[in-house]
Each structure stands twice: as structure tokens, then as C-alpha cells.
């Protein structure tokens, strides 16, 4: 995918750019708001990563606002050193799609970008999600694997549904906490791991081929291929 990165800190920019390129993405970089806005409005990107605070008179929020005003719907992830809840709300209200606070793990950023792109490609109102022999029916909340019904608690169902929507992609613990529980704080203990391992028990334990994989240091991936 094609990514625009607007970040004034060279080293952070370099480390994000290198990571994205290693993952096989195309990356354009700008270090100033003006250049960033120019690139953003003249090229087509799959996703943009904008630093909230930029030197010059155009900051990250200003770029988002002018893009959204001209009808540009490209998903945007805001990268910011401002971590207060209000800052986050302001960023999302201005038209950002996700907000990541510095310092961050590259894996977290990459996973969130994947999720943003997947969401923007919007498989409209699917009712059945399928991965290999695992199938979930959203309206009736029925889950089967190889035709055998699997009983899930409501929260386990929500967890599985989120991972199914992002099948093949890495989802981080924070993403799960935010999207499945709507919690935006550090739960102190790795509670998410316990939930995922319970889910894994139910969908993988009785089958030869595992679908739910742990991605070390980053999170989880639901994938038909190991």
C-alpha cells in the first residue's frame, strides 16, 4: 500500500519509513505541514500518518481539516506527543481516524494502519464472515468450525468478530482493548491475553490446523496460513 508520512522528527520518520518499506509498502515523506498538505492533496494514498505538531503554520490538525473539507476521505492516523484524552478527542473530531501516542511500537503502528486501510475498503455490511472452515454469522451470532457449532460468550463473540474482520492482519492488544471493550487505558495486567487464550481454546483446541496465531511482541493474527 502507499503511505504518506508527515513527521518532523528525522529519526522517528526514518524508523517508521524503514519499517513500512521493509513490510513492502511505498512511503512518501514530508517534514513540514505545507509539503505534507501538498503531497496529501496531489497524490492518492491508501493511508496517511500525520504528526500532530509540525513546524510552520500548518500542523497535523490543519492538514486533516483542509483535506476533509475538500472531500478527501483517505484514512489518517494521527501520531502525537500530546496524550491527554482531550487532545485525542480533538484529533478524532478534526477528521482523524485513529490516534497513536508517542512513544509507540512499530508493530502497533503497522497493525493500526492495516486496520485503517481494511476498514476504508469497507466490505459493506457483511453478515457472514468466513476464514478457512471457521464461519460466523453476525446477525444470529452463530459460530461454526468445520460445520460443528461453537458456543461463545458475548464478549468472546465480539473478540472473534473483530479478528475475523481483520483476518490475515496483526491486531495488537491495545487495538482489541479499544475496539472490543472500548477501554482506552492501560489495564495493568495482560488481561487481553487471557481472553484470547480462552477464545483459542474454543476455536482451535479440537482442530489440527490452528487459526489464531500469536505474533510475538505485537499481538495476534487470525489466519488460515500459519
Amino acid at each position: 500500500m502507499k503511505v504518506l508520512l508527515v513527521e518532523d522528527n528525522d529519526r522517528v520518520a526514518q524508523f517508521v519509513r524503514n519499517g513500512l518499506r521493509e513490510d513492502g509498502h511505498t512511503v512518501d515523506c514530508a517534514t513540514e505541514g505545507r509539503d505534507g498538505l501538498f503531497l496529501a492533496s496531489s497524490e492518492r494514498y491508501d493511508v496517511m500518518v500525520l504528526d500532530r505538531l509540525l513546524p510552520g503554520d500548518i500542523d497535523g490538525l490543519a492538514i486533516i481539516e483542509s483535506l476533509r473539507k475538500t472531500g478527501n476521505r483517505t484514512p489518517i492516523l494521527i501520531l502525537s506527543a500530546l496524550a491527554e484524552i482531550d487532545d485525542k478527542i480533538r484529533g478524532l473530531r478534526a477528521g482523524g481516524d485513529d490516534y497513536l501516542t508517542k512513544p509507540f511500537a512499530y508493530g502497533e503502528l503497522a497493525a493500526r494502519l492495516d486496520a485503517l486501510v481494511r476498514r476504508s475498503q469497507g466490505t459493506a455490511a457483511e453478515t457472514i464472515l468466513q476464514l478457512a472452515d471457521l464461519r460466523i454469522d453476525l446477525p444470529s451470532r452463530k459460530v461454526t468450525r468445520a460445520g460443528k457449532p461453537i458456543q461463545l460468550q458475548p464478549r468472546e463473540f465480539a473478540l472473534l468478530a473483530f479478528m475475523m474482520r481483520h483476518a490475515g492482519q496483526v491486531v495488537t492488544r491495545t487495538m482489541l482493548l479499544e475496539n472490543v471493550w472500548d477501554y482506552h487505558f492501560d489495564p495493568q495486567t495482560n488481561v487481553i491475553d487471557v481472553h484470547v487464550s480462552k477464545l483459542r481454546q474454543k476455536i482451535d483446541a479440537d482442530f489440527a490446523r490452528p487459526l489464531l496465531h500469536t505474533v510475538r511482541g505485537v499481538g495476534y493474527r487470525l489466519d488460515a496460513d500459519g
Binding site: 522528527n9 522517528v12 524508523f15
Partner: protein
């Protein structure tokens, strides 16, 4: 009500004023009475003296019969019903007058006397002049001054009633003054309450009258201005600090991650780098927790307040931590009445309760029970309690347990930043509530008390 009224400054002022007023009026009336009494005494004395002279003159001019004549005349005609006369020979045997015997109290001492005398069947206050006349005759001329004494007693009684009346008036005046003062003070109170809850831009209203309250309000406003400047300065500094630290931390993490991507899986260097990243993530977690605490303490989150249902928040938190407890063999029980509403920030409340449940599970042994409950206490408060059966916290450690970075004896060696309970306490403060730690024998009960949401705000 009674002790409340006495605690009111205005009522105390009014009572103090009443006491002063009473002292003043008593002094004034007392002085007037004293002067009047002295005047009346002089009048009586002058009359008595004139009578005595008249009798003495008659004795001198016409001898004993003349004096007797005069006395009889005066007593007989009752010129003055209060007048008392007694003329005796040198052995004090009565010769003339309306007294039957020489009063013992007077004895043989000539001059002025004031005595209580049994007279016409009653004790009367009387004043006498005792004069030794030529040839050994003794003359006693006096006046019954009982009326004057009665007047003075009446005045004393009136003064007492007046004092009571003055106290009542002062009390009523005090209440009026109190109401007037309270009206002004209430305005100050409302505004300062808003300021305490985080709205530093509020200012006290002034009336432009330059009275004491206005001047007080002006002074407080200047103080608020200063505080706002300082707080803004601190906030700005900590934002700048946060920003300045976040970027280098991001750089550092980026470098370590870049090193991790060098393909040398499993080498000791890779393991060390992995450890460094984990260490760095702990630093970042503490850093984030500190900033979150600062954010809560600044009151900035008050804007996120709304009426929230506690049963939902608690159920979701228990749902999140339930599997963790299950894995440890700990049972989590949720006991909550429905429709307990509080006014607050749902995310912060969830985080606070989450921290308490996380701690409770962490310190529980396998087979233990963690009780999460919420219940009304009185009409205005709700207690959220999280109890475990773990080692608890010693009494001497309890006051420190909510301090930042404090790690109790039981928690040494386990994970955690020492900020978990600080955050709960900060959330409690933000909600005008409190966090208390109690013994459950065995175990610990953390009690988060919050104000109940008003039904119709």
C-alpha cells in the same frame, strides 16, 4: 440548628453586640438612677432637716410645751403621712411623736440613720435625723422612704426585662444580618466551589460598592488570576516536558526495534535488545500513568462528566478481569443493585474500578473470592467496594498506600508501578469522593465512595 446558628459568625457578632448594648444601657440607666436617687435623698434630707429645725426652734422659743405642740400638730394633721417624729427626755422615754419607742438600731449616736423600722404593722425603710437638743432632750425626725425603695426595686425589675428584650431584639437582628451576609457569602461560596472543581477561569462577582465583601472578592480575584497563571504555566511546562520526553523515547524505541529487525534471531544480543525494549516499555507505561494522573488532578476531565449507570461499568470491568481471575482459580462475585447512578467520567471510573479488581485478583490466592459490590449509603452516597481475601495492608501502611510510587511490603517482588491506587485516589478526588482501605479479616476492602447523581440536575 442551635449549634449551627452559634457557629454562624453573624449570629455570634449580633450576640456580642447585644451584650455590649445591654452593658451600655445598664450603665446609662444605672448612672441616671444613681443621680436621681442621690437627688431624692437630698430632698428627703432637706425636708427632715427643716422639720428638725422647726421643732428645735419651737423648743428654743417656747420651751418643751411649744415643741410638743408642734409635733402633735404635725402628727395630728398628717401634714406629711410619711413623716415620723419622736421627742424623748434624756432617758429616751417618749414625750411626744408618733413612734412608741426609741429605735434600738439608732442607739445613742446622733446624726443620719437609715434603718428598717416596724411601722404601722409593716417593715419600712426609713431615714432619720437624730438630734440631741439642749437640756438633754432627744429628737428624732424621719421619713418613711419605702416608696422610693419600691421604685428602685421596680426600676431594677424593669432593667432585667429590658435586658431580656434587648437579647431578643439582638437575636432577631442577628438573624436578619446573618441572612443579608449569607446572601453575599453564598454567592462567593458557589463561585469558589466551581473554581475548586477545576474551573479556574471563574471570578467572584463584585458589586462595585467597595464594601468589605467587594474588597474581599477583588483580592480573591487577583489571587485567582495568579493561580491561573501559575497553573497554566505548570500545565504548559508539563505538556512541553511530556512532548520533549515522548519524542526521544520514541526515537529510542525505534532504534531498538530497528536493531531487533537485524536477522540474528536467538542470539544473546537479540535477547538483550528484547529485554531493553521491555524495560523501555515499562518506563513508558509509568510515564503514561504519571501523565494520566496529572491530567486527572488538573480537573481537565470534568468536561467528560455525565450521568452513568454503575451496574454497567462494574459488569464490564468484571467481564474484562473475570478470565484472569478464573485462570488463577479466583472467583469474582459481582453484587450490585440496579439503577445506581453517579455523575462522572465513565472511562476513568472503569479504569479506577479496573485497578482495584486487578489488585484484588493479584493478591488473591487460588480458591479466593473477590467481591465487587456497589450499594447506596444514605441518601446521597454510593459505595463501590472491592474486597479480597489476600494478605491485606497493615494499618501503618494504609496511609501511604495511595501515594505515588509507594509499594507495600506485600507487593514487593510483584509487577506494578506503584501508581495503581494513586490513580484510583485521584479519580475519587475528581469525583468529590474518597478511597478508603479497610481490613476484611482476612483481606482488604477498597471502598470508593461517590456522590449519587441527582435525579433532576
Amino acid at each position: 440548628m442551635g449549634s449551627g446558628l452559634l457557629r454562624s459568625t453573624s449570629v455570634r457578632l449580633a450576640l456580642g453586640y447585644a451584650v455590649l448594648f445591654i452593658l451600655f444601657s445598664f450603665t446609662l440607666v444605672g448612672f441616671l438612677w444613681w443621680r436621681t436617687a442621690a437627688y431624692l435623698d437630698r430632698e428627703v434630707d432637706a425636708v427632715i432637716l427643716a422639720d428638725a429645725r422647726a421643732v428645735g426652734d419651737r423648743l428654743h422659743d417656747f420651751g418643751l410645751p411649744g415643741a410638743i405642740e408642734t409635733i402633735k400638730e404635725r402628727v395630728g394633721h398628717a401634714v406629711d403621712e410619711h413623716a415620723i417624729y419622736l421627742l424623748t427626755d434624756p432617758t429616751l422615754t417618749p414625750i411626744a411623736g408618733n413612734l412608741d419607742a426609741w429605735p434600738l438600731e439608732i442607739g445613742r449616736r446622733p446624726g443620719w440613720h437609715q434603718i428598717e423600722l416596724a411601722f404601722q404593722g409593716k417593715l419600712h425603710a426609713t431615714r432619720f435625723l437624730y438630734a440631741a437638743l439642749p437640756a438633754g432632750f432627744q429628737l428624732l425626725v424621719g421619713r418613711d422612704v419605702e416608696d422610693r425603695v419600691a421604685i428602685s426595686r421596680a426600676i431594677l425589675n424593669d432593667l432585667t426585662s429590658a435586658a431580656l428584650l434587648a437579647i431578643l431584639l439582638a437575636g432577631a437582628g442577628g438573624l436578619l444580618v446573618r441572612r443579608a451576609i449569607l446572601r453575599r457569602v453564598d454567592v462567593l461560596n458557589h463561585t469558589t466551589t466551581a473554581i475548586i472543581s477545576g474551573d479556574l477561569s471563574s471570578r467572584l462577582p463584585t458589586q462595585g460598592s467597595s464594601d468589605e465583601f467587594d474588597r474581599l472578592a477583588q483580592t480573591i480575584n487577583v489571587m485567582l488570576q495568579q493561580i491561573e497563571l501559575l497553573v497554566d504555566g505548570v500545565r504548559h511546562a508539563s505538556n512541553a516536558l511530556a512532548h520533549d520526553l515522548r519524542t526521544p523515547l520514541a526515537e529510542l524505541r525505534g532504534r531498538l526495534e530497528a536493531l531487533q529487525r537485524v536477522p540474528a534471531e536467538g542470539s544473546p544480543i537479540q535477547r538483550e535488545i528484547g529485554g531493553a525494549v521491555a524495560d523501555l516499555d515499562r518506563v513508558i507505561a509509568i510515564f503514561n500513568a504519571l501523565l494520566r494522573l496529572a491530567e486527572i488532578d488538573s480537573g481537565a476531565r470534568l468536561s467528560g462528566f455525565r450521568t452513568v449507570a454503575l451496574d454497567q461499568i462494574l459488569a464490564e470491568v468484571v467481564d474484562l478481569y473475570g478470565p484472569l481471575a478464573e485462570e488463577k482459580g479466583v472467583t469474582v462475585r459481582l453484587e450490585i443493585a440496579s439503577d445506581l447512578m453517579v455523575s462522572g467520567d465513565p472511562f476513568l471510573l472503569a479504569q479506577a474500578v479496573g485497578n482495584l479488581v486487578d489488585n484484588a485478583v493479584k493478591y488473591s490466592r487460588a480458591g479466593g473470592i473477590v467481591r465487587v459490590a456497589a450499594a447506596s449509603r444514605g441518601d446521597d452516597e454510593i459505595d463501590i467496594t472491592v474486597g479480597d481475601q489476600g494478605p491485606g495492608i497493615a494499618d501503618d501502611e494504609k496511609p501511604h498506600a495511595t501515594l505515588r510510587f509507594y509499594r507495600g511490603r506485600a507487593s514487593r517482588g510483584s509487577e506494578g508501578s506503584g501508581l495503581g491506587l494513586s490513580l484510583v485516589a485521584a479519580v475519587a478526588r475528581l469525583h468529590d469522593g474518597s478511597l478508603t482501605l479497610e481490613d476484611a479479616d482476612p483481606g482488604l476492602v477498597a471502598r470508593l465512595s461517590l456522590a449519587k447523581a441527582r435525579q433532576n440536575p
